[in-house]
């Protein structure tokens, strides 16, 4: 190659080098444009992503409100406990992390792994609890090991101070369910939170639960806290003050002595629930802690049916207690009846309706018929009145309709009428059925709370209130306790004479020689009451009613006793039901008496609403928490 060619060659190469340089600079320019795209055009998007990376909201659960009785005695509170939790977003390898922790604590990793898998949720960075009730040693081991994504969280656990006492009234808490999460009433409640699932815990969950707070943290790539940016303190739930008197509640539970049944005690002057027992009880702490599905199955299929709140969900024939509204109807329509003769049986349409007293009550009047609980008297006059008149009067006293007590799941019971039968069964009402209804058997059924509310209405001569379990709350304005106003229901304006006769008769039941309710007599007050027997099997079924006390337990009748005291100015109305307790007076009467006495012992504290409020305010000032 000669020098000229060489020079030409060199120029050709220089030209190509120039092209190469232009291409390279173009590539650099494109990279710069890409940088412009990311940094200027999409800056906000990426800045938000960067913020998301480092910013984290750690939820702080609020403390659930405590529950007190009417005198400010602590019934339900929270105790601290430590739980092992995973922040799944920070866990690089679930199996490895759980294995590490399990080895550290010398535990079986399988159940923890299963819980972590099951509880995968869509709320980011919400710790998922995989083991509760850590010991302090376990807590320090975990804190020391500093495993990414593993956290110890302090949890407040529900503590029911008096164990199983008032368990159906207080209820229990449980982790919020999927259905509840979708429910607007639980708006703002985070997954994994315990909410009220039963009883007062459920009914007043909204005020008890409080509002969660949060800490805005800056975290590093491993999820460890770098610093706190902001903090919204959680708002603790409000304390709940119940109307119940713990002394009466426990007296009622002791009086039932483990027998299945229910006790409801109300203040007739305002409907406040003084005691509400359903037996057998449950262990609210066990259920609140969360039980295995096997254990839950065992509880829910228990033949004693502890999950039923018998006070509001148990429906039983009211038995002879129903004779009171029948007597009221009789007094208001046909007037007072005298000179009735009871032979012990009442033939009607080819069938003989028997009295509980085989030899009969002889010559009696209406007063005696109630005192001695004569069946034949009420067969006779019940038929004369007709079912629809009975239903009218009984309905005014609240039978067949929920009382409106502030507890979940209340049932209405049943108050039959000819219209009801036509509608529900498509049949006409047979007069024979009126005979059963007149003594509170057959179709008629009621819950203990209905019976208690009914007795309260009789005691107050027709003034009715919906039973309430909430006493009141601390006002945010003046910091003082304010009682909830009673919730009045339509009254039963019968004549004063009618109420006077009923009151005398009910006093007679307890205090007269031939009365069926002697067991309820108390030296502390005059008690007005009525026994009742709810038939489990029909009389005709072959069980000898005289041998009821020796019959197999599940065939024995339910025993009722309903009362109010002091008879002329009642401050308490009680309904007692003992399942398969046989005759009402003997078994249920003493329970009612013990409840009444326990309540009247606290009489000076119950003198007035002002006294009640003063007690609470004094306690509050003295140090608040009791």
């Amino acid at each position: 190659m000669n020098p000229v060619d060489r020079e030409a060659m060199a120029w050709a190469l220089r030209r190509r080098l120039g092209v190469a340089l232009a291409v390279m600079l173009t590539v650099l320019l494109l990279l710069l444009l890409r940088s412009w795209y990311l940094q200027v055009l999409n800056h906000e998007h990426y800045e938000a992503l960067a913020r998301n990376n480092r910013a984290r909201v750690v939820v702080q659960k609020p403390e659930r409100g405590a529950i007190y009785d009417r005198y400010g005695r602590l019934l339900v509170t929270n105790t601290p406990s430590f739980a092992l939790a995973l922040v799944l977003d920070d866990v690089p390898d679930l199996d490895a992390t759980v294995a590490t922790v399990a080895a550290l604590l010398d535990l079986d990793p399988k159940p923890m792994l299963a819980r972590a898998r099951r509880e995968r949720r869509n709320v980011p960075y919400l710790p998922v609890t995989i083991r509760e009730n850590l010991t302090l040693r376990e807590v320090s081991l975990i804190e020391w090991a500093h495993v990414a994504g593993v956290a110890v969280i302090g949890e407040a656990k529900r503590h029911y101070v008096f164990g199983q006492s008032a368990s159906h009234l207080l209820g229990y808490v449980g982790e919020i369910t999927e259905a509840q999460l979708a429910d607007p009433r639980f708006a703002g409640v985070l997954p994994g939170t315990n909410v009220g699932q039963y009883g007062a815990e459920a009914r007043y969950d909204e005020s008890l639960r409080g509002v969660p707070g949060g800490r805005n943290l800056e975290v590093d790539a491993k999820g460890f806290e770098v610093r706190e940016l902001a903090r919204t303190p959680p708002i603790a739930g409000e304390d709940l003050y119940l109307t119940i008197d713990l002394d009466v509640q426990q007296a009622a539970e002791a009086a039932l002595a483990g027998r299945a049944g229910s006790v409801v005690a109300l203040d007739p002057r305002n409907g406040r629930v003084i005691a509400l027992v359903s037996s057998p009880a449950l262990d609210p702490e066990e259920v609140s802690r969360g039980v295995t599905s096997e254990r839950w199955k065992a509880i829910s299929t228990d033949p004693g049916r502890p999950l039923i709140n018998r006070a509001v969900q148990g429906v039983y024939p009211p038995g002879s207690i129903f004779k009171i509204p029948v007597a009221a109807a009789l007094l208001e329509t046909l007037g007072y009846q005298e000179g009735f003769y009871c032979s012990g049986e009442h033939p009607f349409k080819g069938r003989i309706y028997r009295d509980w007293k085989e030899e009969g009550h002889g010559h009696i009047n209406l007063h005696d018929a109630i005192v001695q609980s004569c069946d034949v008297f009420f067969y006779t006059y019940g038929r004369r009145l007709g079912i629809d008149t009975i239903a009218d009067y009984a309905g005014r006293f609240g039978f067949g309709r929920p009382t409106g007590i502030d507890l979940p799941g209340e049932r209405a019971g049943l108050l039959p009428s000819s219209a009801w039968k036509k509608k529900a069964r498509g049949e006409v009402w047979y007069p024979g059925e009126t005979l059963s209804a007149a003594i509170g058997q057959g179709y008629v059924s009621a819950t203990p709370v209905q019976v208690a509310a009914f007795m309260a209405a009789v005691g107050t001569k027709g003034t009715r209130f919906a039973p309430g379990i909430r006493l009141g709350d601390w006002s945010k304005q003046d910091g003082r306790f304010h009682l909830d106003a009673p919730r009045p229901l339509p009254g039963v304006p019968l004549s004063a004479a009618t109420y006077g006769i009923l009151n005398d008769a009910l006093k007679g039941v307890v205090h007269e020689a031939k009365g069926t309710g002697h067991a309820a007599q108390s030296p502390m007050a005059v008690v007005a009451g009525k026994t009742g027997t709810a038939q489990v099997v029909a009389i005709a079924a072959g069980v000898d009613r005289k041998k009821m006390d020796t019959a197999p337990p599940h065939l024995r009748d339910h025993a009722w006793f309903a009362a109010y005291a002091p008879a002329d100015a009642p401050t308490i109305a009680v309904a007692v039901l003992v399942e398969h307790g046989g005759h009402g007076g003997g078994v249920a009467g003493p329970v009612a008496r013990q409840v009444i006495e326990a309540y009247l012992k606290n009489a000076e504290r119950n003198v007035s609403d002002d006294a009640l409020v003063a007690t609470l305010n004094k306690q509050h000032q003295a140090g608040g928490e009791m």
């Binding site: 060199a10 220089r14 600079l25 650099l28 990311l38 200027v40 800056h43 770098v226």
Partner: protein
């Protein structure tokens, strides 16, 4: 003792020196901003990098004073020695980050693949000028240089070091385009490459480690697996984007400071820089790089002879390719192939090799002036 000719300093390309020192300084400060200081024990990485920079400056000075034509005379010794080192690292190299890249020579860890880039460039600059014709190269003329390239390419790919392997091929390709191919040969080359591609791909894919395959796959869809292979790219883009126009400031920026961005002082140093200094800083940095590339090409164009031209062009390509790949990777437009950013990323061998290559470039400039006085 080696002495530097005074004329070397007189005719030194000070534009080049200024650009290199500026980029080096930016690199060291960025490393300083994201790595632990004395308090965490051990020598801070930015100080180590400073000492490597000093070694690099020495290498620069040495090579800028060393006549490139004499250097090209030794090119084949250098080439075969490098090849021997590559075989050595294959058999007893140290494994780091899942790949065999380092070999200890006299107490110093060396990355032979770094040396290989330079030796292949020199080998090609020596091979082509003697054979160059106005008509361009025929296809069969490429057999010998092709083997020169393929030998180290295969060995580097086996380590595996995808970035360095591709760089060697890139330099070869650019040099071929500059020296010129016949039109028919270009067609042949394209055809053969086309036919050989599946086989090459097979070899290429099989030689990759699992993580490299994932990187290539997630390059196509980085959002699919935010905590896996695509994580690096996502975090890098977030860091750069969060920088905005003016940046978060020196030692600021949560992406790099809180370690959401991995490898902030090595492969992803650009992302850290971009988060701290924003688009304005990026513009300055890219202008510096553009100046460096333009300076290199300018030296090539003005070289006094063909070997000088090819050496300068080859060295410039050798520097440019990793800049493109690294920036493309951090900006999310190229696969994550683990290529450090020249002159900025932490790493001794790469820095010293780059500085030596720049020294050769400077010498091409110097020689042009020296030759005028001869």
């Amino acid at each position: 003792m080696f002495t530097v000719d005074r004329r070397v300093l007189e005719h030194m390309d000070w534009r080049l020196v200024a650009l290199v020192l500026a980029i080096l300084a930016l690199g060291v400060t960025t490393i300083y901003s994201v790595t632990p200081q004395w308090s965490r024990g051990g020598t801070p990485l930015f100080l180590k990098q400073c000492s490597w920079a000093v070694v690099g400056v020495v290498a620069f000075v040495v090579f800028s004073a060393f006549d490139y034509q004499r250097l090209l005379g030794y090119a084949h010794y250098f080439y075969w020695a490098t090849l021997a080192l590559l075989v050595l690292v294959e058999s007893l190299g140290r494994v780091g980050m899942g790949a065999q890249r380092w070999v200890d020579v006299g107490g110093v860890s060396l990355q032979p693949s770094e040396l290989a880039k330079l030796s292949v460039t020199l080998m090609l600059a020596r091979y082509f000028p003697e054979r160059i014709t106005a008509a361009g190269f025929r296809f069969r003329d490429l057999l010998v240089p092709g083997i020169y390239v393929l030998l180290p390419f295969g060995l580097i790919l086996r380590q595996p070091d995808l970035g360095s392997a591709l760089l060697v091929v890139f330099v070869f390709g650019v040099i071929l385009l500059i020296v010129g191919l016949r039109r028919r040969s270009l067609v042949w080359a394209a055809l053969l490459t086309g036919m050989g591609l599946p086989f090459l791909w097979e070899f290429f894919w099989n030689s990759l480690r699992e993580y490299q395959r994932n990187r290539l796959l997630t390059f196509l869809n980085p959002g699919a697996d935010p905590l896996g292979s695509g994580y690096h790219v996502m975090q890098s883009k977030i860091a750069i984007g969060a920088g905005g126009l003016a940046g978060q400031g020196f030692q600021q920026g949560t992406q790099s400071q809180l370690k959401f961005l991995p490898e902030g002082h090595t492969d992803f140093i650009f992302s850290v820089f971009a988060e701290q200094w924003g688009f304005l800083g990026v513009t300055v940095l890219l202008l510096l790089f553009a100046g460096l590339i333009a300076c290199g090409m300018d030296i090539a164009m003005k070289a006094k002879d063909l070997p000088g031209m090819l050496v300068a062009a080859g060295v410039t390509c050798m520097l440019t390719f990793p800049i493109f790949i690294n920036l493309g990777m951090t900006l999310g437009v190229a696969p994550v192939v683990g290529v450090p950013l020249p002159l900025m990323s932490y790493g001794g061998t790469a820095l010293v090799t780059t500085m030596a290559a720049l020294g050769i470039l400077a010498n091409v400039h110097v020689q042009r002036h020296l030759s005028l006085y001869r």
